[in-house]
């Protein structure tokens, strides 16, 4: 249970970064933290104390194994996170070219 709470705290740190920080790069880092926290949470769902990898070996009884599906899913999710982060960083670089700043309070040509 403690581990889940730590995940929640990590998630909240990330959310704080996204909502409160004014620097574009820090917002992207916050988003990264959110993604890590949820990946960690998903892996924890399938984890068992002292469990082992679910690999079938000869002459062995597998009694206590971890759930492999969340690990596979989290791999996919990490790749998606990589794609989003790469896109965001490239957009942030182009924004810096146009506006000359990373400060979101100065980037506000859209309104209404």
């Amino acid at each position: 249970m403690t581990l889940y709470f730590l995940c929640l705290i990590l998630f909240c740190i990330g959310l704080y970064g996204v909502l409160r920080k004014r620097n574009l790069v820090k917002i992207i880092v916050g988003l990264g933290i959110i993604e890590y926290s949820m990946n960690l949470f998903f892996v924890l769902l399938g984890y068992k104390m002292h469990g082992r990898a679910p690999i079938d070996a000869q002459n062995q009884d597998i009694l206590n194994m971890v759930d492999p599906i969340p690990q596979a899913l989290v791999l996919t999710s990490i790749v998606i996170g990589l794609g989003v982060t790469a896109l965001l960083i490239s957009i942030a670089i182009r924004i810096y070219d146009k506006y000359g700043t990373f400060d979101i309070t100065k980037i506000k040509r859209l309104k209404g």
């Binding site: 959310l15 988003l31 896109l87 965001l88 942030a92 182009r94 859209l110 209404g112």
Partner: protein, 503 residues
């Protein structure tokens, strides 16, 4: 039909198109890229109509393709039922016309092959999301479509477009995180990812605490993707900033597929709908409907005005579906189809005006009807459709929604829907007055009507607007009814899919 392989084509064709255009686009002449993308879009349209016909002739309510021969719940399956085929027709019909339009419109941007790559990637994401029967697969396709749309919003790489894209990407990613956590909770609870199997397991467990929690997570996540009112802040920035054909795609089908379809599929068919969820959907729908239309009244930027109306019309769809009665769901889904047609037409019109006179400010334009008759007339048809004037398609769907509200005794919501419709009418009268009627300005003496491809696609969509109301005739009503039945069946979806998978 045993193992209907054509369901996979909805993902394979656009993915193949995206990557082949990305690879060869630089080295061949533009004409070949144009022809290839139109052909691929036409194939998708053909297969979506084919899926409707096949589904009608088959005895079963659902058809399942087991990817790799693995029977669900062990493998990923692709499901085609009434709701999926309805959404497929909507998405691919609009995408086909927008593709034709883009052939000419995207000439003013420099890199057309890249545009078509991203366009087809987005289409692959949307089609995949519609046909998939696996919850995590749904998340992956949702992210494919979302990432392609973030890139497309920034396609012009001007300052405003980048800003809008960044805002959209951050909000969209946070929404995706909520959806991901929701899926994680559901997986932790049911130990399966197959949507049908999940529905079966959830229906055997009564009164579990996790369901409201998951429902709220999904409501936040998909509500942000659908731009319901408390979560709508990104839409009025993102949709106007994209190139016009992409605005049409985003407003026309993306928010409906990623938001409305995914939400109603999960709420009705997996979680099992209850009165609390229904009233939440109805409340959010009514709120979006009235707030967004009031915000739209004061806009002078044509595309921003249309973007606010998208939020308002999404409100109508949720109001109809949230009623939960057969009539209400029919009205909601019918309005979904109609809105995707007329809103994409309106955005294409705004793109045509932008193409001709290079501005989106309503105060700058005047009397364009004399020079651009096709744009003006199609815009008139679309405006009357969205405002709900008979005999155009928007009238019938709004009428059904309002009647359904009265039938179930929600007079307040019915009044809100009528007021929203009136405000929509007034705001589109403003568009007509400022853009098309009045004196032609001196500096616009020499503007020309837009090229043939753009006129063709606008005319095609306008014809659908005029004859859309005929979909309620009893001969073709099966198309809507089969979609409504899927939602009314609720968790029986599980049984239908699992049986179809074994066949």
């Amino acid at each position: 039909m045993k193992n209907p392989i054509f369901i996979t084509y909805f993902v394979i064709i656009p993915l193949f198109a995206a990557f082949s255009i990305a690879l060869i686009g630089k080295y061949v002449r533009r004409l070949y890229v144009d022809i290839a993308s139109s052909v691929f879009c036409f194939l998708l349209l053909f297969f979506s109509f084919y899926s409707v016909a096949v589904l009608r002739n088959s005895a079963n309510p659902a058809m399942v393709y087991n990817v790799g021969g693995w029977i669900p719940p062990f493998g990923i399956c692709m499901v085609l039922d009434g709701l999926s085929s309805f959404m497929l027709v909507t998405v691919n019909l609009v995408a086909f016309f927008i593709c034709i339009y883009s052939l000419s419109y995207m000439e003013k941007y420099t890199d057309k092959p890249k545009f078509f790559t991203l366009f087809f990637l987005m289409l692959a994401g949307m089609n995949g999301l519609i046909v998939t029967g696996d919850l995590f697969n749904l998340f992956v396709f949702l992210e494919i479509a979302s990432i392609a749309s973030y890139a497309l919003v920034a396609f012009g790489t001007e300052a405003e477009e980048l800003e809008a894209s960044f805002k959209y990407a951050i909000m969209g990613s946070v929404a995706s995180s909520f959806i991901f956590i929701g899926i994680a909770f559901l997986y932790g609870f049911t130990s399966t990812l197959n949507m049908a199997d999940m529905a079966r397991i959830l229906s055997t467990k009564a009164n579990i605490w996790v369901m409201p929690f998951v429902a709220v997570l999904f409501l936040m996540g998909f509500g942000l993707k659908a731009a319901l009112v408390p979560f709508h802040a990104w839409l009025p920035d993102a949709h106007p900033s994209a190139p016009a054909s992409i605005s049409a795609m985003l407003s026309g089908v993306l928010i409906k597929t990623l938001g409305v379809y995914a939400m109603i599929r999960i709420f009705f068919n997996i979680l099992g709908i209850t009165d609390i969820y229904l009233s939440a959907l109805m409340f959010l729908g009514g709120l979006s409907l009235i707030t967004a239309v009031i915000l739209a009244l004061s806009q002078w930027d044509l595309k921003r005005l249309l973007a606010y109306h998208s939020i308002s019309q999404i409100g109508y769809i949720f109001l109809g579906i949230g009623l939960g009665t057969p009539l209400g769901i029919l009205g909601g889904l019918f309005h979904l189809f109609n809105h995707s047609v007329f809103k994409s037409l309106l955005f294409l019109n705004s793109g045509a005006i932008d193409y001709a006179i290079n501005t989106r400010d309503l105060r700058e334009m005047s009397g364009l009807k004399q020079k651009m008759p096709v744009t003006a007339n199609t815009n008139l048809i679309a405006s009357m459709s969205i405002a709900g004037i008979p005999p155009f398609n928007g009238f019938f769907s709004k009428l059904i929604i309002i009647l359904a509200c009265i039938q179930k005794g929600f007079l307040g919501y019915a009044v809100i829907a009528v007021i929203g419709s009136l405000l929509t009418l007034s705001s589109f009268m403003k568009v007509q007055k400022y853009a098309f009627l009045g004196e032609l300005k001196e500096k616009y003496r020499h503007i020309k009507e837009v090229p043939l491809a753009m006129r063709l696609s606008m005319t095609g969509l306008a014809i659908i607007c005029i004859f859309g109301g005929l979909m309620l005739l009893s001969d073709v009503k099966f198309f809507l009814d089969s979609a409504v039945n899927v939602l009314l069946e609720g968790r029986n979806y599980a049984q239908a899919v699992l049986e179809a998978a074994l066949r």
